[in-house]
Amino acid sequence: MNDAILSWLQDWFVKKSGRRATDIAALLDADYIQAGLIDSFNIIELIADTEARFGIRFTAEQFQDRRFTTLSGLCQIIAETRATHP
């Protein structure tokens, strides 16, 4: 897993959810909406901020990828996208 990407994502979720970093770290494989970290409207910001930070653009197919719903999975998708379109 890419530590820099994960670290940025964790910080983003700490800021949005108001939860502690240790709480976020324990929920890396949980569905972040089901876990109550953010709501479905926050996804819009998550996508916008992630794309701006890493200089990528997600595809509609990636939105359907089950990994998109967890922090660890999203981290993998970002890393793969950056590797494909550096």
């Binding site: 709501d39 479905s40 409207f41 996804i43 819009i44 996508i47 916008a48 939105f63």
Partner: protein
């Protein structure tokens, strides 16, 4: 500020292109974040107004929009309050629920919020069964409703209704009792939902193959919007496609279908470690059964009936699968206790499962945690008139945890806090019912029923043994033996071939039976 990905007009145009028209009734699962940023910004109210506005630009004043506001309250052991219990289906659904113009149904598991012309008729007077007759999904089907999903595939909860109507083999009805708040007042209520066997992973819902099929067949249409897409299909088309396909592809809607691996749907049966009581004495048999908890579908029921078979060779065991309706009750899952313990606040063990087979009421939930003495007392079963006894009890359909303790022990519970650890498990199973018959049952029958956990069983068996030598009537006599607390009169049509039930009389107690035998 981020760029705009879509506008209300673009979304409305897409909704029209997938087939929505003025006056339609629409049910929608949504994941609206994947559309991207709407015109006007990312604020919740802006997004909500963009989505709702686009729908009603198309549906008009005669149209109706319904969103899932599922809470699964009773399965989670929680109270359901339609005014306050939040939706678990995303912020769009939650905002519609809070919209003063919307109405929400009273279903404690699968509630919906609706806005528009048909809102009232779709949400009022919901039945106990979330997927049964006259449920929301049936009304939606009858209204020629359209499923229109935002950034989801063509699957929907409506499919679970279709699965129940088509009697799929991998799901069954399960009941939960709980409290719902109706117009501010608490009310006890029962809710039945159609569930999968949690112990059988291959029966997990998997709608991707249905999505592909619906698109291939041309009943689902999809149009891109912003960075996502909308898809729509008629409820009637969904029903008809599944009615046509499931007989040939029964696992289409499950993980088994995706993996191309048929699951085992046979009921979970009792472990072989539970041995029948080996005796030819009815008294000895009854003493043996006293040690088994025989309420509901639990370990020991099958073995108890097999024990009776050693006394009555002609005993036939009928098995009713989990989910079968027996009057007010449903055949539950096969339930068993893994472990249970009660400790005081200093960690001292007060009691555990080795003390009595009756320590945990049958069908009680798992629970692990610390509780106050007052909380603990609310979960205890005891009888002050039998201070040394563990009272056999069941929490069938109650979806809560409990302990059965001798009243003398309850009186000694003085600590302010306790640690409770109860681990129980459940699987799809089948309720065994013993059927003993004599005489010509085709000429009409008399039925005597007793529960395995009752003292009356002993008398009934003794009578039956006596009668076997001297029964000279032309009609038949049937003894029905079943675990409590099921109702005999509802078991009869399930356990006896219909042609034999020419006439019957039911005796719920031995006194009535004896009086009748004397006549």
């Amino acid at each position: 500020m981020a760029q705009t990905d879509y506008t209300r007009a673009q979304l409305a145009a897409a909704l029209e292109r997938v087939g929505l028209r003025a006056g339609d009734t629409v049910f929608c699962h949504s994941n609206i974040g994947f559309f991207g940023v709407p015109e006007g910004g990312m604020q919740a109210q802006t997004v909500y107004q963009t989505l709702l506005g686009a729908f009603f630009d198309v549906l008009g004043e005669e149209g109706t929009l319904v969103l899932p506001t599922f809470t699964y309250s009773f399965p989670r052991g929680e109270t359901y309050d339609p005014q306050n219990t939040p939706s678990t289906c995303g912020i769009f659904t939650e905002m519609l629920r809070r919209d003063p113009c919307s109405l929400r149904s009273l279903d404690p598991s699968y509630s919906v919020a609706a806005i528009g012309r048909r809102a009232r008729e779709l949400t009022r007077d919901v039945p106990q069964n979330s997927f049964g007759d006259n449920c929301f999904f049936e009304r939606f089907l009858n209204a020629d409703g359209i499923i229109c999903n935002l950034n989801f595939d063509a699957g929907s909860t409506f499919i679970h209704y279709v699965e129940r109507r088509l009697k799929v083999p991998y799901r069954y009805d399960k009941a939960f009792r709980g409290t719902l708040i109706e117009q501010g007042r608490p009310r006890q209520w029962r809710n039945v939902i159609h569930v999968m066997d949690l112990g059988n992973e291959l029966t997990l819902a998997e709608f991707e193959p249905f999505d592909r099929l619906a698109r291939e067949q041309g009943i689902a249409r999809s149009v891109p919007v912003g960075r996502g897409a909308v898809v729509a299909l008629r409820a009637r088309d969904t029903f008809d496609l599944l009615a046509h396909t499931l007989p040939r592809q029964p696992w289409l809607l499950t993980l088994a279908g995706k993996k191309r691996q048929a699951p085992q749907i046979s009921p979970y049966t009792e472990p072989h470690g539970i041995r029948p009581v080996a005796t030819d004495s009815i008294d000895e048999l009854q003493r043996g059964l006293d040690n088994w908890p025989l309420l509901g579908l639990v370990p020991g029921v099958e073995a108890a009936l097999r024990s009776l078979k050693s006394l009555f060779e002609s005993l036939h065991i009928q098995r009713l699968p989990t989910g079968t309706a027996i009057g007010e009750l449903l055949v539950p899952e096969y339930w068993w206790l893994e472990s249970a313990s009660l400790q005081d606040d200093a960690g001292r063990l007060i009691i555990d499962q080795r003390s009595s087979p009756h320590l945990v009421p049958s069908h009680g939930r798992s629970f692990e945690g610390e509780v106050t003495r007052e909380e603990l007392l609310q979960h205890l079963v005891y009888d002050p008139e039998r201070p040394q006894s563990f009272i056999p009890a069941t929490l069938l359909e109650q979806n809560r945890w409990g302990l059965s303790l001798p009243a003398s022990l309850v009186g000694r519970l003085r600590a302010p806090r306790y640690r409770v650890n109860i681990q129980t498990r459940q699987r799809f199973g089948a309720l065994p019912v013993g059927v003993l018959s004599m005489g010509d049952v085709d000429r009409g029958i008399r039925v005597i029923s007793v529960t395995l956990d009752s003292r009356q069983l002993l008398q009934a068996l003794a009578w039956f043994q006596r009668l076997q030598q001297g029964w000279h009537t032309r009609k038949g006599l049937v003894l029905l033996i079943h675990p409590g607390p099921f109702s005999a009169k509802h078991l009869i049509p399930r356990c006896l071939p219909e042609r034999k039930v020419i006439a019957h009389k039911i005796f719920d107690n031995t006194e009535a039976c004896e009086a009748w035998l004397k006549t």
